[in-house]
């Protein structure tokens, strides 16, 4: 049933309404949280161009780290990097490179432990030389990364050389003492 209400009556009803409407619960906490998230998202988008590929690499390495950290001893990195100007390198890019190095050393150590810490001198001279080549390549790439830490190609090359060394360990060490194998000399 429609009842015609005059404008004055309507205005009087409005005057009686409370000036403020309070929410059922305190929403400020959620609003602050959302503002904080948006700030982080903006920062992320700005750096996305540089760090999406790096974040992909880091998450892959982190997944490996989670798998290995329970079983591996803490590695000792005996060759500290020489950094010419630490103020130039953003901390998270440097962290990624260090994470890759730590992850690699952990995986290598775990493999060596699983093979009973074999004596490298039992390998043929050629195979020992390959480990030297790979170790030297890693050092060369790590040095180049100091000047260009966002270079995805260099990061991929570093990962390639690390993976080659781990693959070589897995392929050679189980058979190191096997007399049935005649090592070919190239």
């Amino acid at each position: 049933m429609n009842k015609h209400i005059s404008d004055n009556t309507l205005l009087s009803y409005v005057d009686k309404l409370p000036k403020e409407m309070e929410p059922q619960r305190d929403l400020w906490q959620g609003i602050e949280h959302a503002i904080q998230d948006k700030k982080q998202q903006n920062t992320f988008v700005n750096k996305q161009r540089y760090f999406v590929p790096a974040a992909w690499a880091a998450s892959l390495i982190a997944a490996v780290l989670v798998g290995w950290v329970t079983f591996s001893p803490t590695p000792q990195i005996t060759e500290p990097l020489v950094v010419s100007n630490e103020n130039v390198l953003p901390s998270n890019a440097k962290q990624l490179i260090e994470t890759m190095q730590v992850s690699f050393q952990q995986q290598k150590q775990a493999l060596l432990v699983s093979y009973g810490q074999p004596d490298m001198s039992h390998l043929s001279a050629n195979m020992q030389a390959q480990f030297e080549v790979l170790a030297q390549a890693r050092k060369t790439i790590e040095k180049a990364l100091l000047n260009d830490e966002n270079n995805i190609d260099l990061l991929n090359l570093l990962r390639f050389t690390q993976q080659q060394e781990l693959n070589l360990l897995q392929q050679l060490y189980p058979y190191m003492n096997d007399q049935n194998i005649q090592w070919q000399t190239i």
Partner: protein
């Protein structure tokens, strides 16, 4: 009498010499099993040489000579597989000289081969092939489908393989001819040579050289540490080339009318040489890096080469 004894002794010794080859030779084998209901043949041989040939007949035959330390040849059908294994007692494995076997099998059966130190030759197998040997050479011809040939210390020679091809050795060379399909070549210490019609080619080498002649490339990916790579290729429309090197030189020789976007970068030394256009490399303001970006034709393809300190040449 003493003289007679001496002569008898000498005669006995001489006579016994005739038996030595017989007692030291391995057992000869010539066995056949029908391949009805079989889809896989699995072969294990410790050492020696194994030749595996595909044929149209519907049985599997094994002929040859076992190692003289071999206890027996296991040759049996188990379910849908035929297993062939030269059984050598563990204590005798070090002294085993090797078995020499020739195996004929239906060409369309899957084949798995494992060995410690056998050389192996394969021919005319048109279903999935997997060969793993630790120390031994692999020689393969006319294989198809999914092909995986792997040696730790041994060379691989392949001719006319087609399908998904994966060849790898740690210490040895890879020589590939007339392959087709998707080709993956990996060596740690040794050279890689390939003349291929494969459209997708992936090559990894640590300290050997790479030499490729590729007739129609949709995708080429090269990663190397210290060896040199020389590639002559026909890059197809919308093709992709990616090459990375630590200290080795990379030379890419394209067809005359290549149309691609080129991005070359040397990060810590190394020269960039462009023989396709007049564009020259730009050196970085600070540091030893330099880059060379240019395009040819309508740039529908992409070439990206990155090195730490090697030289890059495109022509």
């Amino acid at each position: 009498m003493n003289n007679v004894n001496k002569y008898i002794m000498a005669a006995l010794i001489c006579a016994s010499l005739f038996f030595i080859p017989v007692t030291m030779a391995g057992k000869k084998v010539d066995e056949t099993i029908k391949s009805e209901g079989v889809n896989t043949v699995t072969i294990e041989n410790l050492s020696g040489k194994v030749i595996i040939v595909g044929w149209e007949k519907e049985w599997v035959t094994v002929k040859g000579e076992l190692d003289d330390k071999a206890k027996q040849l296991v040759f049996e059908q188990v379910g849908h597989s035929i297993n062939i294994k030269v059984d050598i007692p563990k204590n005798d494995r070090r002294r085993a000289k090797g078995s020499i076997l020739t195996i004929h099998m239906p060409a369309d059966l899957r084949m798995n081969f494992e060995s410690i130190s056998s050389d192996v030759e394969l021919e005319n197998l048109t279903n999935n092939v997997s060969v793993k040997t630790i120390s031994g050479d692999i020689n393969a011809k006319n294989l198809a489908e999914h092909i995986e040939l792997s040696s730790v210390s041994g060379s691989i020679k392949a001719k006319s393989l087609q399908g998904k091809i994966n060849l790898s050795t740690v210490s040895g060379d890879i020589k590939d001819e007339n392959s087709l399909g998707r080709l993956q070549l990996k060596v740690v210490s040794g050279d890689i040579t390939s003349k291929s019609d494969a459209s997708e080619v992936f090559v990894n080498n640590v300290s050997g050289n790479i030499k490729l002649q590729l007739t129609k490339v949709d995708e080429l990916n090269i990663s190397e540490v210290s060896g040199d790579a020389k590639v002559s290729l026909f890059l197809q429309r919308n093709g992709i080339v990616k090459a990375s090197s630590v200290s080795g030189a990379v030379t890419l020789d394209f067809q005359d009318d290549v149309a691609a976007d080129f991005r070359l970068k040397a990060n810590a030394g190394g020269d960039l040489t462009n023989r396709l256009t007049a564009q020259e490399a730009e050196k970085a303001k600070y540091g030893p890096s330099e880059k060379l970006y240019f395009q040819t034709g309508n740039a529908n393809s992409s070439v990206s080469v990155n090195t730490v300190s090697g030289d890059i040449t495109v022509k």
